[in-house]
Amino acid sequence: MDDLYREVIIDRYQNPRFRGELDPHDYSYQDDNPVCGDHVRIDLRVDENDTITEAKFSGEGCSISQASADLLVEKITGMKLEDVRQLGKADVLELLGIDLGPVRLKCALLSLKVLKGGVYGLDDVMTLDELAAS
C-alpha cells in the first residue's frame, strides 16, 4: 500500500502545483478514461521555437490520474514539442516512482494520452489500452 500511495502522489493530489487553465493557449486538449470517468485537460503555451513555456492541467479523478497530470505538466514545461513525442509509459511511471497494475496504469497514462492528443491530433494517438501495452 505504501508503494502505491507514496507521499509524492498524495501530496501532488492534495496540493497540485500546476492545476489551472491557460487562456489564451496554443494547445488545449481533454479526454476521459471511460473506465472510471477520470477527466484531464491540458493547456500549453509554446514560443516561436516550439518550446513549451507554460503548461497547466485541470480535470478531476483519482489521485493517480491527477498526480500524474501534475507531474507530467511539470516535466514538459521547458521541453520542445518534438521531444514530447518521445515520452512514453516508462516516463510517467518514473515520475510516479511506482509500478502499477493494468487498471491503475490507465489512470496514470490518461494525462500522457491527453498531451499527445493535444500536440499531434487524435489520429496519431494510441488508445489507453495501447499506451498501457506499449
Binding site: 500500500m1 502505491l4 500511495y5 498524495i10 472510471c36 470517468g37 479523478g61 483519482c62
Partner: protein
C-alpha cells in the same frame, strides 16, 4: 416485488460452501470479501458443474439434430427456458427470449417493437436513475426516428418522484421503461404501481430487472408488465446470456431482430418468412451451455427461495447502512433502508472513489468505483463517481465489518 417478511431464514454458511471462489484469499493471509455482486455475481458449483457436464457429455448444436446428443442438448436448452419462465412466473416458456445480456434485451425491444411502433414525436418515458442499458438504446432510437424522451425525476432522497408521474403520463407516452431496482442507490421502485399507471395511460411498460430479478421475487403476471429484461451473470448464472420476457401477443406482432438461421421458416434468395416466437428472436446458434447454466442457477435460487434471498439481502443492506454511518466523512447515496436493498454507494471526503476502492482491495474488499453506468444519475447528485459495495445471498456481516475496517485505513492515508 416486495420483501415478504415471512421468508424462511437462509443458511449462509451452507450457501458459501457452494461457491468455490469465496474461499480464496485476496492476498496471502487476507480474506476475500466479494462485495461486487451488483456488477456480476459469483457462481455456485451447481452452475459450474452443469456447464462442465454439458460440454463433457451433452454438447451438440440444437433444434435441427436428430441424433441422441443433439436431442439431449435441445431438451436441456428448452428445459432451462421453462425453468426461467417459472422463475418469473411467465405464463408460457415461449415468452422467454434468450439474448446476450440485459443490454441486448433492451436493444431488442427498442429496435423491433420501437422501430415498428414509434414515430416522430412519440414519447418514451424513462427515469433519471436508469442504467445506460435502459437509456442509450432509446437515445439511439430518438436520433434515428425523432422520438422524444422524458424522465421521471429522482428526488434528493433518491427515490422516484411519483408526484411528477401524472403530468408526464398526460403527455401520452407510448412506453414507460424503468428499473425496478437502482444499481447505484439500491432504490426499489414501486414497479407494480408504475406499470398500472402506465397501462391506465395506454402506454406499454417495460422493466429493467437486471438488479431486481436477482434480488427480489418477480412475478410478471402479477406485475402485468409487458417486457422485462435481465442478465444471467448477475443471478448466479454464466456470462454471455441475457433474458427478455415479453407478453406473447406483443412478441408475435414484433418484427424480427437479427437475421439468420433458426429465426426463419423459409428462405429464398431475396425473401424469407419468420419462424415462431421465441425462435424468431434467436438467430444463429444460441448460448446453449450458458442457458443450461442459467437453468441450474434458477434451480439454485428457487431452492433457497427468493423470499429468503430478498429478506437476507435486505438484512445485510440494513446492517451495512448502519455501520457506514459510523464512518466520518462518508456519505451514502440513496434512500433509507425502507426503500432500498442490495447495495450502498458512497463518497468519502478527500479520497477519490477509485482510490477508496483501491485501498479497500488492498484489504481484501472487492468493491466497484465509477459511475456504475449511470452517469446522468451521478450528474444529478453532482458527483462524477462513487464507490459501491453490493451484497448477495453469500455475503456476511463479517464481510461488511471488514469493509468498515478497511475504510478506516482509507482515512489514515487520505485523512
Amino acid at each position: 416485488m416486495t420483501i415478504s417478511p415471512q421468508a424462511g431464514p437462509l443458511d449462509v454458511d451452507k450457501i458459501r460452501a457452494d461457491f468455490p471462489i469465496l474461499h480464496m484469499e485476496a492476498s496471502p493471509g487476507v480474506k476475500l470479501a466479494y462485495l461486487d455482486s451488483g456488477a456480476s455475481s459469483q457462481k455456485p458449483l451447481a452452475v459450474i458443474e452443469a456447464m462442465n457436464t454439458y460440454y463433457r457429455s451433452q454438447n451438440a448444436n440444437i433444434h435441427r439434430a436428430v441424433y441422441t446428443l443433439g436431442e439431449v442438448a435441445t431438451e436441456a436448452y428448452e428445459a432451462a427456458r421453462a425453468k426461467v419462465a417459472k422463475f418469473i412466473n411467465a405464463s408460457k416458456p415461449r415468452e422467454i427470449i434468450f439474448t446476450r445480456n440485459a443490454t441486448e434485451s433492451v436493444n431488442l425491444v427498442a429496435q423491433t417493437w420501437g422501430r415498428a411502433n414509434l414515430k416522430e414525436g412519440d414519447l418514451v418515458l424513462l427515469t433519471e436513475m436508469e442504467h445506460h442499458a435502459n437509456l442509450v438504446p432509446w437515445q439511439m432510437l430518438a436520433a434515428e426516428k425523432g422520438i422524444r424522451l422524458e424522465f421521471i425525476p429522482v428526488t434528493e432522497e433518491g427515490i422516484l418522484d411519483l408526484a411528477a408521474l401524472p403530468a408526464l403520463l398526460e403527455q401520452k407516452p407510448k412506453l414507460v421503461s424503468f428499473t425496478a431496482m437502482s444499481n447505484v442507490l439500491g432504490t426499489i421502485t414501486p414497479a407494480a404501481e408504475i406499470v398500472r399507471l402506465a397501462h391506465e395511460a395506454s402506454a406499454l411498460a417495460m422493466i429493467d430487472g437486471a438488479q431486481s430479478v436477482p434480488h427480489l421475487p418477480t412475478d410478471v403476471q402479477a406485475l402485468d408488465v409487458d417486457f422485462l429484461a435481465f442478465s444471467s451473470h448477475k443471478m448466479l448464472g454464466p456470462t454471455g446470456l441475457g433474458v427478455l420476457y415479453g407478453k406473447l401477443d406483443l412478441l408475435n406482432a414484433m418484427p424480427p431482430f437479427m437475421g439468420g438461421g433458426d429465426m426463419i421458416k423459409r428462405v429464398e434468395l431475396r425473401s424469407f418468412t419468420t419462424n415462431e416466437v421465441p425462435q424468431k428472436f434467436e438467430a444463429g446458434t444460441p448460448a446453449i451451455a450458458e442457458v443450461v447454466g442459467l437453468g441450474a442457477a434458477v434451480d439454485y435460487l428457487m431452492a433457497v427461495g427468493m423470499d429468503a434471498v430478498a429478506a437476507y439481502d435486505h438484512e445485510l443492506t440494513a446492517y451495512a447502512l448502519e455501520r457506514l454511518e459510523e464512518v466520518q466523512g462518508l456519505k451514502v447515496f440513496g434512500p433509507g433502508i425502507e426503500h432500498k436493498s442490495s447495495n450502498a454507494s458512497f463518497t468519502f471526503e478527500g479520497a477519490h472513489p477509485h482510490d477508496v476502492a483501491e485501498i479497500l482491495n488492498r484489504h481484501g474488499v472487492a468493491t466497484r468505483a465509477g459511475h456504475h453506468c449511470a452517469m446522468p444519475l451521478h450528474n444529478k447528485f453532482g458527483i462524477p463517481s462513487t464507490t459501491r459495495a453490493s451484497f448477495y445471498l453469500y455475503n456476511t456481516k463479517e464481510e461488511i465489518d471488514q469493509l468498515i475496517e478497511a475504510l478506516y485505513k482509507v482515512k489514515e492515508i487520505f485523512g
